[in-house]
Subunit: 329 residues, 2 copies
């Protein structure tokens, strides 16, 4: 642990810690203690000096600092290797590079802001600075490419499960395949990219964008009716480092389960979040359209529709609700 991190750990243990005690515990001079405290203040920590009594940690910065995330982390692999950027083009692009360079499974790339954040189907992901979570995980599942959609569905369950306690007043919903909604508006999106041979995945980069504390003005006008954040939906700010660590933990658990037992093992949890079951929908699958009533999801993650021509199972596509009022989704 670096000296600055050790100072934080000591300050968190007691309301006030004397400079003398810090100096003695860390085996550095009082002047060195002071220099580290100044550096922490520069990084955004509010550390009060109480004359003759010592230092008190009043507040940690609202920043995705590795040390802030690490102290909440309860995982074995996910987030254990962590790179945090103030600004990056795309966390997925960077994580894909790490994946090609043999980064271990669970490697996490975070950024306070993305200049070219990406979404599914070549869309962009609006990524304002210092309010949300833009996370990309390197995964190395022993699966065939055909099974990869199950990972994207699993990730949606992990995001929903992570969001639930942070957005306790509003139910979290999943819109097939893997959008997460609050109040019928999109709060999180998932972009799953893979590097594969035809019969084996070499690596997957799982990109997760979650709108946490974004104010309405952070979204471009055209998105304001369809996008939201936890803060907008619930009125409550999210402790972002704590959220990042919680996401690592749920994702590790859900991912390990699905890789071991298949998506079927968590399909009922996925369905418990689904906002489509029983609704009449149209699914657009690269030009081909299917319409029907959603029955549920099958063990490999296909949406099961009761259509005009009987049951249909759909692997991929864009869903819209027939006669639906978008906010009621």
């Amino acid at each position: 642990m670096e000296t600055a991190d050790r100072i934080l750990t000591l300050l968190r243990r007691e309301p006030i810690v004397s400079g003398e005690a810090l100096s003695a515990t860390l085996g550095i001079s009082r002047a060195a203690v002071w220099k580290h405290v100044e550096a922490l203040r520069a990084a955004g920590y509010r550390i009060e000096s109480h004359r003759s009594r010592g230092y008190a940690l009043a507040a940690a910065p609202d920043r995705l600092l590795p040390a802030e995330i690490a102290r909440h982390l309860e995982t074995e692999r996910f987030g254990r290797r962590l790179e945090c950027f103030e600004s990056i083009d795309s966390t997925n692009v960077y994580a894909a590079r790490l994946a090609r360079e043999d980064a271990p499974e669970g490697t996490l790339v975070l950024a306070e802001r993305q200049t070219r954040g990406r979404g599914r189907l070549g869309r962009s992901w609006v990524s304002p600075a210092r309010v949300n979570l833009y996370a990309s995980f390197v995964l190395r599942p022993r699966l065939a490419p055909a099974d990869a959609p199950q990972l994207a569905l699993a990730a949606a369950v992990a995001v929903a499960r992570t969001l639930a306690p942070f957005a306790a007043t509003v139910p979290v919903a999943i819109k097939w395949p893997n959008d997460c909604l609050l109040d019928g508006k999109k709060v999180a999106g998932i972009l799953t990219e893979m590097d594969a041979e035809v019969d084996r995945i070499r690596s997957v980069v799982l990109g997760i964008g979650v709108n946490l504390n974004a104010p309405a003005r952070a979204f471009p006008p055209e998105l304001r009716t369809t996008a939201t954040s936890v803060l907008l939906a619930t009125g409550t700010r999210v402790d972002r480092p704590r959220f990042a660590a919680a996401l690592c933990a749920t994702l590790e658990a859900v991912y390990d389960r699905v890789v071991r037992d298949g998506f079927g093992a968590i399909a009922s949890e996925w369905e418990s979040y689904s906002c489509l079951t029983g609704r009449e929908v149209t699914v657009d699958c690269s030009g081909r359209r299917s319409t029907g009533t959603v029955r549920g999801i099958d063990p490999v993650g296909r949406l099961v529709l009761d259509g005009a021509n009987g049951e249909e199972r759909i692997m991929a596509g864009d869903v819209s609700i027939v006669n639906g009022y978008r906010r009621k989704l």
Copy 2:
């Protein structure tokens, strides 16, 4: 067309062309003609000077020069954008970079030698200099990742169809999924890599290595019983630029067919090359083994086995023949 290429074209039309005629046709000085002829000779063209009568093209170099390939090329897209390297780490790695940079479908990367040639499942591909073909094509099929194995099988058909006239005295065989054999020994391998979202392929890099004129000593000793070249199997040298152009043409035709109509459209041609039909085999699929008699291939490219527990359909794996004598494959 560059002046040197135009000179080659003119020299190919007639047995001898005078320097004066070249100079007049191209609108350059006699001295300039001479300089270009010297440059062509330096590139490996054998151009004879017949005093007072002119120049005669005696032989083109046995090199994968763009101009040599282009003059045989009869495709619409495949090989139309072409990069040829004297030496490269891996044509697939370079083509993957071009694919990420929006190279058009059909872009072809060739190299006379690979220093880190790669095969399936993380294996290496032995890539001696100036005797074989190491080719990587950029593809942009509108397919789901689950359909990608069909492309690898299609590529095997294209390679087999291309090889047939060049190795006329020895039947070409395909060993599922996509190894090509002559005399029961491997003559070509295919490595299909993709960059994909879970439900849509962004690009595929199709790597094709074909042993054409490699002598036995070009293979490491441990491969000499299992690998061969067209030269070793038939005693006939292959015109490599002509082979490269022929491969572009068959691949374009087969690929377009499969993307439009699915692998089923060429499954019977694939089966006509298959060396496994009717044989008892064991398929190792990441640790899980299946044994049975090969019935054939199904319309999505799965190997159909009659096993102890009835019919099995296998998407991916490594096949070995039970009680088989490897050379008889």
